[in-house]
Amino acid sequence: MGEEMPLKMTGVSKWFGGFQAVRALDFEVPKGSIVGFLGPNGAGKSTSLRMALGVLSPDRGDVRLFDIPPNLDSLKRVGFLPEERGLYKKMSARQIITYFARLKGMSNSDAKARADELLDRMGLGDFARSRVTKLSKGMAQKVQILSALAHRPEFLILDEPFSGLDPVNQQALEDLIIEEHKRGATIIFSTHVMEHAERLCEKIVMMARGRKVFEGNLNDAYSALGRAVHIGAAEGFDLAAAMAPVGFEAEPEGDHWRVALAPNQTSQDALRAAIELGAPITSFTPQEARLRDVFVSLVSDAEAQDLTDTLAADAAAQAKDAA
């Protein structure tokens, strides 16, 4: 029998009325990993995470949380930070963390001790007994995050955890995620901010228009976009014609040439070839792959595909009507 899988979604679809929010989604979160769940607004990320937790039921497909359908037993091993932040405004920070920890099965004394420990660690010790209404927005958000991980969950599901946090608190949250990961927790978080995913994630799942458009590690993601170098040459020199015979594709792009790199080619290979071919080089810039570019490219493709699908469906419907 294989290792227990914190989350596995197979062929999951969800409709809201006539709108399909999630389309045949397959992905899994291996134990001990940090997975970035990326996608633009309305991609279906929150709906997918809510289905993962059993808050919403999928209309099609199968969701497994620790190899069983989500239920209170499996959910006790999960900590969840919802996208829509909310706390009981009349309760104190300590009371809220204790309450949610106890709902997850901790004893009263353990929950209180854990709340104190977490509040101290996040610099909120002095506000432990302050009502939520007395806390700043950032502090309240920290309290909610602490509520999600107070019971030391094996699996953390964080929906847009960085939104609304200032850079200092974003860094603090990144540190906390790394710390939880070191403790042994598996983590999935959704975000728009690619830099967080680049710094934290071993695996990326990207969604657009309800579809999964990518699943893999960061290197796979960079490969998906294709690498290149930018080479500037003196005016009049045709770099494309010069490099084509040695296996490089170059094309003019503004005041320089963009030289595409095949998987077996490096930027040093391109520079060496240009020098050997006698190109009068004025500048050389390796184009670093960024997750943001991959994201924009994949999302644009998905949106274009979606538009194509819609047009095709409309055409089919019209043809059917005409017939």
Partner: protein, 485 residues
């Protein structure tokens, strides 16, 4: 289930009782109720004495009016002397003494003291007649307008009203700038009736004393009831113990209504707070929806027990400490009420009705709250519920007159009214099958409403359904109306 429900119940309950609004309601509700109950008495006592005069050739009408006002003041004095005897329509020793003193020519205040009443509780006289300040009706105008004062035993006072008996036609005119207070005019009409009756009797040579003697000689009609078995020893006359269950049932029905009406708002407000604060997702990944709802309903049920416990203990303590100053017949009646309240035939259906009624209305308010982000939104959906809750209150009026009225019997079968009306019917000892059938129907309806409310709550909490979705849903049933999307 028990642990998560307990935790939700505990959090919600402590949240409610730690709010200052709860303690304000707890402490001030009895005060406000007391003010409502005593308001008519306060208003009566606060009303200053009003002065009137009569312009008449002769004195026949004014004497009749004076006698009518003395009788009216006597009624108030009797009620102050012995409230229980007045309510029950019987004469007590104090009232008999008072009447004898009046008969022998004593003033009301003198008769009141002779009968053992304290002058401090004697109601103030509403109207006092004064001599006319002028001799013509035209000259009365500045007095009625308040420009001139009349002299009274209490010093110069405004003239409230004047009666002018027309010499020629004999028509009686009532003059006053206060168009609403008509009790003096009513007294004048009764006085005129008596006067004309006296005149008619005189024409046939019948003395008015004959009527007085006839009234004095009238026989009392006593209320009897059938008793069998061990109760037969008590006799057949209806006692306070027989009346007490009806009083208790009305009190219980009203208390039940008041309690439900008071506490369901906590459910509504609590759920609106959770929805507007977006806590549902966090909660629903920690506790099952039915357990969450059970916890919420239990918390407010405990809250209602806290209110009842506090008020009952408070009133019990007040009664205990004031026991020596409570008149014996009132103490007897309170004892009969206490005994009736402890009758299992009354309190068991009352408790079942309260729990089912609370669950029925509580779950509806919970579902309503889950659809609303603000109290303003909730108000648009609350009207039908409020109207439904107000209907049983109106039926209490019928129950006070006749608990066996056909209306109460029929409406008790409507499950949303059963919690209140079944209690009202219990003292009439309805057939046992009817009691069980109504309780059963109420239970089935309660569970159906709970089921529906859970679904609505899920739609609101999980799917974010709101007021517009409700409007859209009902819009489908209106012919020719397109539902909003």
């Amino acid at each position: 289930m028990i642990r998560s429900t307990y935790l939700v119940t505990r959090r919600d309950y402590l949240g409610y009782v730690s709010a200052w609004g709860f303690w304000l309601g707890l402490l001030f509700t009895p005060v406000i109720l007391g003010v409502f109950i005593l308001a008519p008495t306060f208003a009566q006592n606060a009303q200053p004495t009003r002065y009137f005069t009569v312009l008449e050739q002769g004195s026949a009408f004014s004497e009749a009016l004076r006698a009518e006002i003395i009788e009216s003041d006597s009624v108030m004095a009797r009620a102050a002397l012995d409230p229980m005897a007045t309510i029950e329509g019987r004469d007590s020793e104090a009232i008999t003494k008072f009447d004898e003193a009046i008969e022998s020519g004593a003033s009301i205040s003198e008769a009141f003291e002779i009968a053992g009443g304290s002058p401090s509780v004697l109601p103030r006289q509403d109207y006092v007649e004064v001599d006319p300040p002028v001799s013509t009706s035209d000259a009365l105008a500045p007095f009625l307008a308040g420009e001139d004062m009349i002299s009274t035993p209490d010093g110069p006072q405004p003239l409230f009203a004047a009666f002018v008996v027309n010499d020629g036609s004999g028509e009686i005119e009532y003059w006053s700038e206060n168009l609403q207070a008509r009790s003096l005019m009513g007294a004048a009409r009764r006085a005129e009736s008596d006067l004309q009756l006296d005149r008619a009797l005189a024409e046939v040579n019948v003395n008015r004393d004959l009527l007085t003697r006839a009234r004095a000689a009238r026989r009392d009609v006593t209320q009897q009831r059938l008793r069998t078995g061990a109760d037969a020893d008590v006799g057949t006359e209806v006692t306070q113990a027989d009346q007490a269950p009806f009083v208790v049932s009305i009190m219980m029905a009203f208390s039940l209504w008041f309690l439900i009406f008071s506490v369901v708002n906590y459910l509504l407000m609590g759920t609106i707070e959770e929805r507007s604060n977006k806590i549902f997702d966090s909660l629903l990944t920690s506790v099952k929806l039915p357990h969450l709802l059970a916890g919420k309903l239990l918390a407010v049920l405990l809250l209602s027990f806290t209110l009842v416990g506090f008020w009952s203990t408070g009133s019990g303590l007040i009664t205990w400490f004031a026991r020596d100053s409570i008149p014996a017949d009132i103490a007897d009646f309170l004892g009969a009420v206490g005994t009736a309240a402890g009758d299992p035939a009354l309190f068991i259906p009352a408790i079942i009705s309260f729990i089912l009624g609370y669950l029925m209305y509580g779950s509806l308010f919970l579902a309503l709250g889950s659809l609303c982000d603000t109290i303003q939104e909730a108000q648009t959906l609350m009207t039908p519920l409020i109207v439904t809750l107000m209907a049983p209150l109106a039926m209490l009026v019928f129950a006070i007159q006749d608990a066996e009225s056909a209306l109460i019997q029929i409406m008790a079968w409507v499950p949303v009214f059963t919690p209140f009306l079944l209690i009202l019917r219990m003292p009439t000892e309805p057939p046992l099958w009817e009691v069980f059938a109504q309780l059963g129907l109420m239970a089935v309806t309660t569970f159906a409403i709970l089921y529906m409310a859970t679904r609505v709550y899920r739609a609101g909490a999980v799917h974010g359904a709101g007021v517009n979705d409700v409007m859209s849903f009902f819009g489908k049933f209106i012919p020719g109306k397109k539902s909003a999307s």
